[in-house]
């Protein structure tokens, strides 16, 4: 295959499956769930056609799928899976175990609303709920980012300073099922970029000396705290590694990725913070408002865990009013989950914007440009009046 980049039309799910084919993991264990099913379904065809060397484990539930990935990863294999919503929820127990045992599993997650009521469409309630599980979380704005993020995720997860699992997300149906142009790297480029799984010396010495080891033993009051402290440190170190891998990937692909993406924030008086596919719509709205002379901009959060506190403060410190777009509700009588994290990031800074929270798009509710225009008009009103009349507003719900 040529080293030339190939432009193809792919859905988010196809892009994830293609990335997995090129990564060629040792083990994929999975259970189907809408709208993520296609990822592993397409991948299982690659396995059947002998295009990958992967051992495919069709598990009887997501809990088992993640358990199988944990077992494989603990043996030093490169393990991957994909899921969504209820599937992610069923993996809950194992998510914490994967992180706590420092296993670099990579998972494609298609964001979907959690039941009840049952709903198969996009919001971020599933992945937001896993935000304190010790998984690195990377959100994708479009199909290209989903592909690029998944390839980088392998290197981030397996870096010896990190050894943490990574989930890369797309928005259900909006990205998972929509056809977009994708610039694919060649198989060789991806295979060289991800390289072989780095050896875990602790696991390897056990094999060499033929000495059995115990992984995940009872830890209790004496050692649990120290082990959790190590996970916290790994998440801190992940920040350096994510930047490092981002630079390396930019050299390979020409596409640069950072923790956040500022968009037209120069001298912006009002801005929104947004994650995932709505970023594209919001950029359009920013462009049209800028064209009519309004000083508005946007900050996209790509990496949510580790939380890019410094980068957010740096990007938004001079903006007067910021609207945080939460595609999940915190159900805490205050706000969605993104709002308090950004508010906390600014707490110790003298120069900080006024913050308002906008909960939008739950259960796949469409997010047309006019909804984002409403958000900006609320923000601009605060910039002129200086008065903030609410903390949280529900956008797009029938009042």
């Amino acid at each position: 295959m040529s080293q030339e980049e190939k432009k193809v039309a792919k859905t988010g799910n196809e892009a994830f499956a293609e990335a997995m084919r090129q990564i060629n993991p040792d083990v994929v264990a999975a259970y189907p769930i809408t709208p993520a099913t296609e990822i592993v379904q397409i991948f299982s065809q690659f396995v059947a056609d002998g295009m990958v060397k992967t051992e495919f484990v069709p598990a009887e539930s997501e809990h088992s799928a993640m358990s199988a990935c944990i077992g494989a990863s603990a043996c030093g294999a490169r393990a991957m899976t994909g899921t969504s919503a209820q599937g992610l929820a069923l993996m809950w127990e194992m998510l914490y175990i994967a992180a706590g045992l420092r296993l670099p599993i990579v998972m494609a997650v298609v964001n979907r609303a959690l039941s009840a009521p049952i709903n198969i469409h996009c919001d971020h309630s599933d992945t937001m709920g896993a935000r304190d599980s010790g998984w690195i979380q990377i959100f994708s704005e479009n199909v290209q980012e989903a592909y690029d993020n998944l390839i980088q995720a392998v290197r981030i997860a397996e870096h010896p300073d990190v050894c943490l699992p990574v989930m890369v997300t797309t928005d259900g149906f909006i990205l998972s099922h929509c056809l977009e142009t994708l610039a694919m790297l060649s198989d060789e480029q991806v295979s060289q970029f991800v390289g072989p799984v780095p050896n875990r010396t602790d696991l390897l010495s056990s094999l060499e000396k033929n000495q059995p080891i115990t992984i995940g033993a009872l830890d209790l009051q004496d050692y649990y705290f120290e082990h959790r402290r190590q996970v916290a440190e790994a998440m801190v170190k992940a920040k350096r590694v994510i930047a490092l891998i981002g630079d390396e990937f930019a050299k390979l692909s020409g596409r640069h990725y950072s923790f956040v993406e500022p968009y037209r924030l120069e001298e912006a008086e009002a801005a929104v913070v947004v994650m995932g596919s709505s970023t594209g719509t919001a950029k359009e709205v920013v462009d049209s408002l800028r064209a009519s002379g309004k000083k508005v901009g946007l900050l996209k959060i790509r990496v949510f865990r580790p939380f890019p506190e410094e980068e957010i403060v740096k990007a938004l410190g001079k903006v007067k009013v910021v609207g945080i777009m939460d595609r999940a509700d915190g159900l805490n009588a205050v706000s969605g989950p993104l709002y308090p994290e950004i508010a906390a990031a600014f707490y110790h800074h003298q120069s900080r914007p006024q913050l308002l929270d906008f909960i939008y798009g739950l259960g796949g509710r469409d997010v047309p440009p006019r909804d984002i225009e409403t958000i900006f008009s609320d923000l601009l009103e605060v910039t002129s009046s200086g008065k903030r009349n609410f903390t949280v507003k529900y956008i797009g719900v029938r009042e």
Binding site: L203, P212, T214, I215, A217, D222, Y223, Q230
Partner: protein
């Protein structure tokens, strides 16, 4: 069990990911939990070894296909052996007696 004087590793010294030597459960004497004790009556025993299969702590010791003894260091007194024994050859008695 660990002794009080043992120097405990800090989070920086400890191997990452909760990996330790194999068979570490041998250091954990689950027999400390026991409140009722299985007592074996050899005269009733037919050496079917159902107790040995069922014991969750491998506390039933077998030699040459015959019941030998119960390892009270690890027997936690769950009573499964007694329940499974077809000959009622294992009796559960309170520890305090």
């Amino acid at each position: 069990m660990k002794t009080a004087e043992e120097k405990k590793s800090t989070w920086k010294e400890l191997p990452e990911g909760d990996v330790l030597e194999g068979a570490s459960s041998l250091q954990f004497k689950t027999g400390n939990w026991r409140s009722i004790r299985p007592v074996h009556h050899p005269e009733k025993c037919i050496h079917c070894l159902l107790c040995w299969i069922a014991c969750p702590d491998s506390a039933i010791k077998v030699k040459d296909g015959r019941f030998q003894t119960i390892d009270y260091d690890y027997c936690k007194g769950c009573g499964i052996c007694s329940h499974e024994c077809p000959k009622k050859a294992i009796e559960m008695v309170p520890e305090k007696k």
